[in-house]
Symmetry: C2
Subunit: 409 residues, 2 copies
């Protein structure tokens, strides 16, 4: 693989993603899948004058060994001191870089009970950490880390080494790394997303109506909802790009005002399993029925995590013509697939997707319609037949997406 492109990708993650400033503290959470990339990212953080860089390296095979071999009573435990450690980094304002390969169906043979108990224990213990993220002064970025497993899933007909090269090539293209000036390309892209953000905020929609052959869905937006696309800004005015790639415009739905039927248009990779061919029926904001062709029990687990798990926390619009979509590939990675498709998230909403949301309490946000949960799981609903109509309080209707594309273009 072209080393100079890996270096440029690391530069984009560090300089445009988390936007490391001289004297920043950085926490890197990386998988073992591509040490080459993680090393380049670490080096770039130091080069940009970081005061400290802590890299926590996690291995999915080790997580699998725990699920397979662990005594049954280990899955309810998450040590306090482990949560304290991560919370300390938040307290000391360590900005966060997550480098991720999707775990795909690595845990397909593990009982849902073990997975659910384990995730509940960690999510509950890590609640104080998530609270710090809500305050908005921790910059963060999630970016893709190629793995052999992922590459073979995206390119099943290639050899492993060809597949890895092909995946790198796609990552470089989709993340605007393979152009002369990635920083300029990202600035231009961000400006376009910001223009859409202003347009959407200007519409002040009360409700979005989704129609497609497999969708008749109504989503009211939270009061004071704020659309976000591209870069975010910390309270002290430093911008960062929380996802690389990012093609979406997202905001906060109203947790108790969602109704209708919607079918997912891509599989969902979650908890080490792949859920396929699934749909939801909502009433008064809550999932009242669901079906799945494969791994339906994962949906059941997700929805039973807590009261907010069966309600929406994010509504996001992505044109069907996004560069990721144009690749014609199914990535089986939420980061990639959600930026190829309109989507929703079950679970917690983002504080920054409400006006003044980061300076509100959780209760104040809830009063406006924001959802709270220990989960935040995106699922994809976009496609070339999707239409989205915006409804204003005064009864006027504005086409937002027609046949999967922005209507205002």
């Amino acid at each position: 693989m072209d080393q100079s492109l890996i270096k440029k990708y690391a530069e984009v993650i560090v300089a445009i993603g988390v936007n490391v400033q001289e004297g920043d503290h950085v926490y890197i959470n990386a998988g073992t899948e591509s040490l080459e990339l993680s090393r380049a990212v670490v080096r770039e953080c130091w080069r940009r004058g970081a005061k400290d860089v802590i890299t926590v390296i996690k291995d999915e095979q080790m997580a699998l060994a725990r699920y397979e071999e662990g005594r049954d009573d280990v899955f309810d435990v998450f040590p306090d001191f482990e949560a304290d450690y991560l919370e300390s980094m938040m307290k000391h304002k360590y900005h966060r870089i997550a480098l991720r390969a999707p775990s795909l169906d690595l845990f397909s043979h593990i009982s849902q009970d073990r997975i659910q108990r384990s995730q509940k224990a960690s999510n509950t213990a890590l609640e104080p950490v998530f609270k710090y993220m809500d305050a908005g002064d921790i910059k963060w970025v999630v970016a893709g880390l190629p793995s052999a497993l992922w590459a073979k899933k995206v390119f099943p007909h290639l050899t492993e080494s060809e597949a890895i090269d092909a995946l790198w090539e796609q990552i470089f293209h989709i993340c605007r790394i393979d152009c002369d000036d990635p920083a300029a390309a990202w600035a231009e892209h961000d400006a376009k997303l910001k223009a859409r953000e202003r347009w959407l905020d200007g519409q002040d929609f009360d409700r979005l109506q989704y129609t497609a052959p497999d969708a008749d869905f109504h989503v009211c937006l939270a009061d004071h909802h704020k659309w976000i696309g591209g870069s975010s800004v910390t309270p002290d005015g430093v911008s960062y790009m929380a996802n690389i790639p990012t093609e979406e415009l997202f905001t906060t739905p109203h947790a108790s005002k969602v109704s209708g039927f919607i079918k997912a248009t891509k599989p969902l990779v979650v908890m080490g399993k792949i859920v396929e061919d699934f749909s939801f029926t909502f009433a008064q904001g809550r999932v009242i029925h669901f079906e799945a062709g494969k791994n339906e029990d994962v949906i059941r687990t997700l929805l039973s995590m807590d009261e907010g798990a069966g309600r929406l926390g994010e509504v996001a619009l992505v044109p069907h013509s996004s560069p990721i979509s144009q690749s014609g590939l199914l990535f089986n990675s939420t980061l990639y697939d959600e930026n190829a498709s309109c989507h929703f998230a079950l679970g917690k909403s983002y504080a920054e997707a409400l006006r003044e949301g980061t300076s509100m309490t959780e209760d104040e946000r809830k009063a406006l319609g924001a959802n709270d949960s220990m989960i935040h799981i995106d699922f994809m609903v976009g496609g070339p037949e999707l239409n989205v109509i915006g409804h204003r309080k005064d009864g006027t209707e504005v086409p937002v997406m027609i046949n999967g594309e922005w209507a205002m273009d």
Copy 2:
């Protein structure tokens, strides 16, 4: 590489090394060099009924990036919360498995100043952690983790992949993995070491005299010194093998009663540099002169770490015919080379190498002659021409090693 041998090696590390019991907590500190082995070790811990297994994976290339690119003021800092995290594991009695490849001369171009400041900062911050280790109820083991860099250093004339295979083969042989019943082989080996331990303790030597063409060296032993070979035992009676491999019998020298001249017989790999062709002159327990053919400044750095860094904290006897020595290889790994050769350590002594030492305070141990320091660095002095004579208080002399071999055999 033969997967079944890697699994057997992992079993020896977990079952004989740290001797994981049902319900134990385990902390694994592993390099990124052989995930295959680390994964097998993690799996084996869970299989043996561990209550929790925390694996901290560190990467030397990332450490190098910090030294090369970090701002000059980052080297004096070690975050308190990082030390607290490690101390928490000790408090909660996480037994420790360290899987290590030597860093060789990876940091050869880094200024001693950066390395020294960095090591001082971490050693000072981690002092509370070391205190827990002294109490003796944390079981621990250090074992070798093959890396390409290490393999090529041991087998410079082989290709990288041949060298890695050859290194694995040596590790399997030296660590008694490639026999029918490794557990039985280790039990037999341990029994032999324990017999030597009893013999040495029975002699109650006051002083050891080292003579060789390049040595005229006198080491008084600490009061209440206790010889240790092979397995250790926790206060609650669980045995463990702190080094795999281990061939040594070691005890505590008197920190202020060492004198004479001694030349190292193998290079010393420390702080990412390789010190070669070096010697020490001691008087009243302290190094008063040293010379080195290569990287003399590393010795200077080591000795200036603190007051105890220039005094001995360990004296260890290993026959020249040890299996590692017989391989005829120079491993450039302290773990391997120290078990091929009589050696000493500069710096901190082990509490367990004094009778009742683990239940004494640091001051009580010091009063008996034990040394304290933030470092503990072994250097090798053994060879086929070394003679060691034991002197008792009553003036009698007993040959301990003749021409590098145990005299009592």
